[in-house]
């Protein structure tokens, strides 16, 4: 049963991931991403990290990819890009080589170490213990990083508003140290 769930979830993740890259239409790619995220959520459930699974779906699938879709739809880039013109001819083969190389590297690393990786202690999944553990960790050991993440939101909001705003006023382009 566990193996079956693992295989199905991993299949979702892989198919989704390949879909993200291979699909021509950005909306289909985004849907592939959703599939991947769901697969990860299933893995979380199988590992009894229920809270993470729920958050994975709510935050990633429910908010982030929806925003991707918004951008894709509203900017009208939802038609396939013309990829036939290649500005730097070598980059595609190079990308393939590096991609395959990374997969092989990580793959061999995993295979070579599959016996030596220390198994984490088993957690009993008694109700809310997951959430309590997470909360304890976040609000004691990681509390500073957690709190300062809120500054990141200020950055995101201030920055986004600024970037989407029109230029304040037209002034001579004087600080440009270009040619």
């Amino acid at each position: 049963m566990e193996l079956l769930v693992f295989v199905i979830a991993s299949g979702m993740v892989l198919v989704g991931a390949v879909g993200v890259v291979a699909m021509r239409n950005p909306v289909h790619s985004a849907l592939g991403l959703v599939l991947t995220l769901f697969g990860v959520a299933v893995h979380f459930v199988a590992m009894e990290a229920h809270f993470l699974a729920a958050v994975q779906v709510i935050v990633y699938a429910g908010a982030i990819v929806v925003l991707f879709l918004f951008v894709i739809m509203l900017l009208g880039v939802d038609t396939a890009e013309d990829l036939s013109i290649e500005p730097v001819p070598i980059q595609r083969p190079l990308a393939v080589i590096i991609g395959v190389g990374t997969v092989v590297l990580v793959g061999t690393a995993v295979i070579r170490t599959r016996d030596t990786i220390a198994r984490g202690p088993e957690l009993e999944a008694s109700g809310d213990s997951n959430i309590r553990l997470l909360a304890r960790n976040l609000f004691s050991d990681q509390v500073l990083a957690f709190e300062l993440t809120s500054v990141l939101f200020i950055v995101a909001v201030a920055g986004t508003v600024l970037m989407t705003r029109k230029q304040k006023r037209v002034a001579p382009d004087r600080d440009r140290v270009g040619s």
Binding site: G120, N137, M163
Partner: protein, 505 residues
Amino acid sequence: MIAAIVAQLGEWTAPVIDWHALAPELILVVGINLVLFIDLNIGEARKWAMATLTGFVLLAAFVPVVTLAVIGDASREMFDGRYVVDHYALILKAIFLLVAYVVVLMSQNELEEGGYYQGEFYVLMLCSVLGMVMMASSRDLVSIFVALELLSIPAYMMAAWRKRDVRSNEAGVKYYLLGVFASAVLLYGMSFLYGTTGSTKLVEIGEVLASGDLIAMQVVAIAFVIAGLAFKVSAVPFHSWAPDTYEGAPTPVTAFFSVASKAAGFVALMSLIFLAFPTATGVYQPLIWVLAVLTMTVGNVMALRQTNIVRMLAYSSVSQGGFILMPLAVAGTGDASQSAVRAVIVYLLIYAFMNLGAFAVVIAVSRKTRSGEITSFGGLFGYAPGMAAVMTIFMASLAGIPPLGGWIAKFNVFKTVIDAGSGAAYALAVIAAVNTVIAAAYYMRVLRQVWMMPAPDGDITPLATPAPVTAALGITAIGTLVLGVLPGLVLRFGDLQDLTGALGR
């Protein structure tokens, strides 16, 4: 580790917080909100005040750094050793705050006269500085990552601050895409590290790595982490964003990136190498050795060919990054581990002064010439002898000519590498020496323009340098000179608490 947490699930104790040690961060957070709110409520005509306010916030954050250093009880640990304020952290915090202050001085007139959003710019800059200050104390993968994002994300936006300019947009997008990619690689490596060691705390990771042979996934993890950070410090071959971003971004922002962001990347690298990977010398040393050699060589060769001063400084900063990597490449060999941290910190400090100074000169001169070409510096000595003199100081210092700061920095780096005493170290030293000579060529080319060439269009009206830029020039020039003449200042400062010791080992 998880078992330990389960065991203590019973009672909840709030973490002990040392408010004094956290004061610089807290002051910055308060300052961010203050600048944001005041900026909202004042009129367009008085926006210049935001620069002043930001300057005061930075100075206020400097105060607790000084008091902590004066009290000097070696190190204050918080959150189970995940956030440490020791001499190492304090020196770096001081460097970051100082750099930010100088950048504020440099940007005030640029932003005001260019008609850019000012308040938000300083808010983002303060956020970035907050990330750096946090980075200096972080001893945990999570807080290192949060700090890294906190310092990078505002930087992506600052790079695109000249919104009407296509090249600034390009700079922002390039920096953003590659930066995010680097973060992903870093995070991937970090997840492997956590997965194979069961801890996010650097010291605990170090203990697990030291306890036996490295397994393959740990090797991959270390390589990924170093590659991710190599993007941030723009080490070759992960440097391709740097020249375009530096050229497209507003010049004060470029100065900020080339000094502060880069230094923060080095800080993360140092914390990881000295705390988490000290025993993994077989993995990180060759990696960084290759990175250092490539970085300084490619940076130099590319810099030689540039005609635009900002692009030249961009490549020069890439190659300087290679020099800063050198001590880390031998950090685990022989006696070098003792002096490597000091060499890096001293280099970062001096590099901050001289590079910021060079950018300040570029800003001051381009206000008149409206050009970024190196030839536009022609005749500078004729109409602005003072400016020519400080430019000489900075260029000579960057080239490493005694008795200026840059020389001390390079001397320390070489000394560390020689201390290591291995074959690889000697090879590195030789390559670095060759590179120093190449570098001197392009720095001298600028000086040749300054001293010997006539002004390109015969325009010899004097420069009108605004007071803040002059102040920035003064601070950086004095810093470069004093550290060169009295190197004991920083070297002693490095001995206060032998810094590798201060890192908690």
